[in-house]
């Protein structure tokens, strides 16, 4: 399975790089966008030393992680972005006549050019502003693996709604955008209902907030929360997608 996925995503990456000008513009645009965001936070911390216990290092870690999560997801699993539309257009028919699993094939259908820009900025952010040392590398890698897995799994779960509702094309994208938005702000700003949402429907809590806490103070308890939530979201996404696929193959048409 892995060699086939690697070959498939290699083709998707080549496709995303075909138009060099577009690739450079997209990536550079994303770098500028990220720099602008960083400047805002830098100015903020010039005036206030902390926001709800979160300092510049914590915010740099949060931004670095989410940028790298978006980068890894976009480059290597970019098919998540248009998965709902792909399902609604019936494009999985061709994949169903082939012998490999459908979900990996859908994820490897596309690689997103702008994600390279996020990757460059994420690495720069973690190295320059996050106050990390090389000994933190294993912990950072762990948070990236788990964060990316939850991010992609959530996007798959949103897209799987396309098996039930035609409106999933837009709301899957909206939910993914909201998940990214929730993952771009310090955890201390969430309370009450927004906190519940950040740890459930839009799992910023497990993608970045708990991982940042883990980097600040590594513990077996926090690690268990991250690992368990990763398993839960993967299981939920796989279950939803397969339930939807069964529905699709039974000819149950999504409603408007």
């Amino acid at each position: 399975m892995i060699p086939t996925y690697a070959a498939n995503i290699a083709i998707a990456i080549r496709t995303s790089l075909m138009d060099r000008t577009n690739f450079v513009l997209n990536s550079a645009g994303m770098v500028l966008n990220d720099i602008f965001f960083l400047i805002l936070w830098y100015m903020f911390f010039a005036g206030f030393r902390q926001v709800g216990g979160w300092g510049l290092h914590d915010v740099a870690r949060l931004l670095g992680i989410i940028m790298l999560v978006v980068a890894i997801s976009g480059v290597f699993f970019g098919g998540y972005r248009d998965m709902a539309a792909t399902i609604l257009r019936g494009e999985i028919d061709a994949l169903l006549t082939q012998p490999k699993s459908i979900l990996p094939r859908l994820l490897a259908r596309e690689s997103i050019a702008t994600a390279w820009g996020d990757g460059v900025m994420g690495i720069w952010m973690l190295i320059t502003f996050a106050g990390l040392s090389w000994t933190d590398t294993p912990a950072v890698l762990l948070t990236l693996v788990c964060g990316t897995t939850i991010y992609v799994a959530s996007a798959i779960a949103y897209a799987s709604m396309a098996f039930w509702f035609t409106g999933a094309r837009s709301f899957a994208r909206d939910l993914t955008d909201f998940m990214l938005l929730f993952s771009s702000y310090p955890g201390s700003i969430y309370s009450g209902m927004t906190k519940v949402i950040a740890y459930s429907l839009l799992p910023a809590g497990f993608i970045v907030l708990t991982p940042v806490a883990f980097l600040r103070n590594p513990s077996a308890g926090t690690f268990t929360i991250i690992a368990t939530s990763t398993l839960l979201y993967v299981s939920l996404a796989a279950a939803l997608f397969h339930a939807g696929l069964i529905r699709y193959r039974r000819g149950l048409v999504p409603t408007g």
């Binding site: 060699p3 086939t4 070959a7 498939n8 083709i11 080549r14 496709t15 075909m18 019936g90 494009e91 028919d93 061709a94 169903l96 006549t97 082939q98 012998p99 490999k100 193959r249 039974r250 000819g251 149950l252 048409v253 999504p254 409603t255 408007g256």
Partner: protein
């Protein structure tokens, strides 16, 4: 020996129609569309069979069930010894599928790259893949276009690449859903020749759906006509050709208000000033003889030769069948 057998296969599509307004959230109207209503047939090894019918007749749904995409509502089927919807992956290694309106190629990249990926998807070893690809490239004349991005190819060239893509893993059964749709006459002819010759040489069984009566006449040796989800006719193409397929429509635009043709098997269908449509029974008179006779009259400005629409052919078959 039958390699494909279908018994009382039925497929219903269910969808929910919401009522307008807020009440629609709670008040749902479940509708059922009967796409295939209990069909049975068998296909032997090396047979080339066309499944034809008007839009919405159930052709594509049947093909989707037989290739493992859809589960039937009821009935049984065995394809190469597999139950398609239960053993989809095992079956996939043995069948090739082409959807005329969908692509399995990466359009921004050369077809060669998509072929290389398909080698991995179907677990074909490199030596076998190279041998098959060389054979197919030679037989299909793909050499000059193999390294061009697919999106720069003509529709006909793209379709040839699609068919090659479906053959690289050496399937013994080929499902073709509208393989000539949207192609020009030359491209259609090339696709038909290739399917017929390749399937003949490799001993492949072909199941084809089409709207084009020429696909059926030139590629298939048996025709199954489906209408409203039921089999209307299942007979050899020769037999069907004698009854229904040997007709052409010749449309003449002329300077004179009307053109009269007095030839055997040629009947006027409709006419308006300066436009005459004739139905030609090609068993009685060849189309070129009709064109020659029309040109001899002088003042012909435009000539169009068409097959009768599939809907018309199916209706004729259906009526003839009911009259028996």
């Amino acid at each position: 020996m039958a390699i494909l057998s279908v018994e009382s296969l039925r497929k219903d599509y269910r969808y929910v129609r919401r009522r307008p307004g807020l009440s629609g959230l709670f008040d749902r109207d479940i509708r059922t569309v009967k796409a295939v209503t209990g069909i049975s047939f068998e296909i032997a090894e090396r047979e080339r069979v066309a499944i034809i019918g008007p839009n919405g007749a159930g052709k594509s749904t049947t093909l989707k069930m037989l290739s493992g995409i859809l589960e039937p509502t009821d009935g049984a089927a065995a394809v190469l010894g597999f139950v398609p919807w239960k053993q989809r992956r095992q079956l996939a290694y043995r069948i090739g599928v082409v959807f005329g309106q969908r692509t399995q190629l990466w359009t921004e990249l050369p077809a060669r790259d998509s072929f290389a990926l398909l080698r991995r998807i179907y677990d074909v070893d490199q030596a076998t893949f190279d041998r098959r690809l060389n054979q197919l490239v030679e037989r299909f004349g793909l050499g000059p276009i193999l390294d061009q991005p697919v999106q720069r190819l003509s529709l006909g060239q793209r379709m040839r690449c699609e068919i090659v893509a479906s053959l690289l893993h050496g399937p013994s059964l080929l499902f073709l859903d509208e393989p000539t749709i949207g192609l020009d006459i030359t491209a259609k002819a090339a696709i038909r020749d290739f399917i017929r010759e390749h399937a003949g040489a490799e001993g492949q069984t072909v199941v084809l759906t089409s709207h084009d009566t020429r696909d059926i006449e030139l590629v298939c040796d048996r025709v199954i006509v489906i209408n409203e989800g039921r089999i209307v006719v299942d007979q050899p193409t020769d037999q069907l050709r004698r009854q229904f397929l040997g007709h052409r429509l010749v449309t003449l635009r002329s300077a004179a208000p009307e053109i009269a043709l007095d030839l055997p098997g040629v009947t006027r269908r409709t006419s308006e000033p300066h436009l005459s449509v004739f139905e030609v029974d090609t068993r009685a008179t060849r189309v070129d003889a009709v064109v020659e006779a029309a040109l001899a009259k002088g003042g012909i400005e435009d000539i169009t030769i068409e097959d009768p629409p599939m809907e018309e052919v199916v209706r004729a078959i259906y009526d003839a069948n009911r009259a028996r």
